[in-house]
């Protein structure tokens, strides 16, 4: 029972989010077969009903589809992953900005901070390829 769930929201919704994140970052590829329900329920440490509910939601949103005998697959529509990726990035950025604004940083401060945080990586890259 390796996966830690948050306390304050339904577990099926957290499973839906996890699938969306995995599709967005390419951990689940278009057309890839999803682990069979019973096995996945064991891995996540959740009941079959909870998992089933999450998978039904994902199917309704067109992110997964079932083939009668072969099992369940990630949508082959690649644009879905891009849409999810964009939505996730926007949400992450929003959280980041809101947290800093909450600490009374101006937008200028936030930009400068972002720049400073990014710079070590840029410098490192330059060192790697002299």
């Amino acid at each position: 029972m390796s996966y830690q769930f948050q306390n304050d929201s339904p577990i099926y919704a957290q499973i839906v989010d996890r699938f969306k994140r995995d599709i967005a970052r390419g951990a689940l590829l278009p057309g890839e077969r999803v682990t069979p329900v019973r096995e996945l329920a064991l891995t996540l440490g959740v009941s079959l009903n909870t998992l089933q509910r999450a998978l039904t939601d994902l199917e309704r949103e067109g992110l997964l589809y079932t083939e009668r005998t072969a099992g369940r697959f990630v949508t082959t529509d690649r644009s879905q992953a891009d849409i999810l990726r964009r939505a996730l990035s926007e949400r992450t950025a929003q959280t980041y900005v809101e947290a800093l604004r909450d600490m009374n940083f101006t937008d200028g401060d936030i930009l400068a901070l972002t720049q400073r945080t990014l710079e070590p990586h840029t410098n490192k890259k330059e060192e790697d390829t002299p």
Binding site: M1, F5, N7, D8, S9, P10, I11, Y12, R38, A41, L42, L44, G45, V46, S47, L48, N49, T50, R53
Partner: protein, 232 residues
């Protein structure tokens, strides 16, 4: 779908002490139901009534279409909260012994489970550690094909690693469409497994319903809620 188990207005007294008061709930097919409460809240009393081990109670209990008793016992696989094994036998002979008792006893599956639980089938029961005996008892229950598994404190008194193994064994082996009524006072590691929960407090139901609904409504985990409801 008709419930597998119906409990209606069950009262039980031990002398002047009320052990259960007005307990009512259903267990629907295919659900994992957590019967949650601290020691002494009435969990084992309730389970004994359902399993037909206590007949002195008021109220109605129906398992499938039957009251507790011989016919109902075919529908139930029961893991008691205490050890009850023929300890003079070897483990492999215990399997044969139980296979004679229960029509639905799958001896091959039981043997498989013992391998994965690392219980030595050649040993005598009395030579097994407490933890090993508990695992043997679990295998004897989970290899059957009833409509309802009733597991009384299967994860009490084992370390967290063994807890995982036990829960995994339960989930891997419970028969599709069957329900599980599992009593426990340890919730944190297992709450995601429950479809429904019943909080039993001083013999009364303090809270009951689908676990996801309760989490969404209260904005907290079943474990947190349990600590609040049963705060001393």
């Amino acid at each position: 779908m008709n419930p597998i188990l119906q409990v209606r207005q069950v009262n039980k007294r031990y002398g002047k002490v009320a052990a259960l008061s007005g307990v009512s709930f259903d267990v629907a097919p295919g659900r994992i139901v957590g019967l949650l409460g601290p020691n002494g809240s009435g969990k084992t009393t309730l389970i004994k009534i359902i399993c037909g081990l206590t007949s002195d109670y008021e109220g109605v209990v129906v398992i499938g279409d039957n009251p507790p008793g011989l016919a109902a016992k075919r529908e139930i696989a029961y893991l008691p909260d205490r050890e009850s094994l023929p300890d003079w036998l070897k483990v492999k002979d215990v399997l044969r012994y139980f296979a004679d008792f229960y029509d639905d006893f799958d001896i091959a599956r039981a043997a498989e489970m013992l391998v994965s639980l690392k219980v030595d089938a050649e040993k005598r029961v009395k030579a097994l550690s407490k933890g090993m005996k508990e695992k043997l008892q679990l295998a004897l229950v989970m290899c059957r094909r009833p409509k309802l598994y009733i597991l009384d404190e299967p994860i009490a008194g084992v370390d967290p690693a063994a807890r995982d193994l036990i829960m995994r064994t339960i989930l891997q082996n419970f028969h599709e469409g069957a329900s599980i009524l599992l009593s426990t006072h340890i919730i944190s590691d297992v709450e995601a497994l429950f479809d429904d929960v019943i909080f039993l407090k001083d013999g009364e139901i303090a809270l009951a319903g689908p676990a996801e609904d309760i989490r969404a409504r209260e904005g907290k985990s079943i474990d947190q809620l349990f600590r609040e409801v049963f705060a001393c």
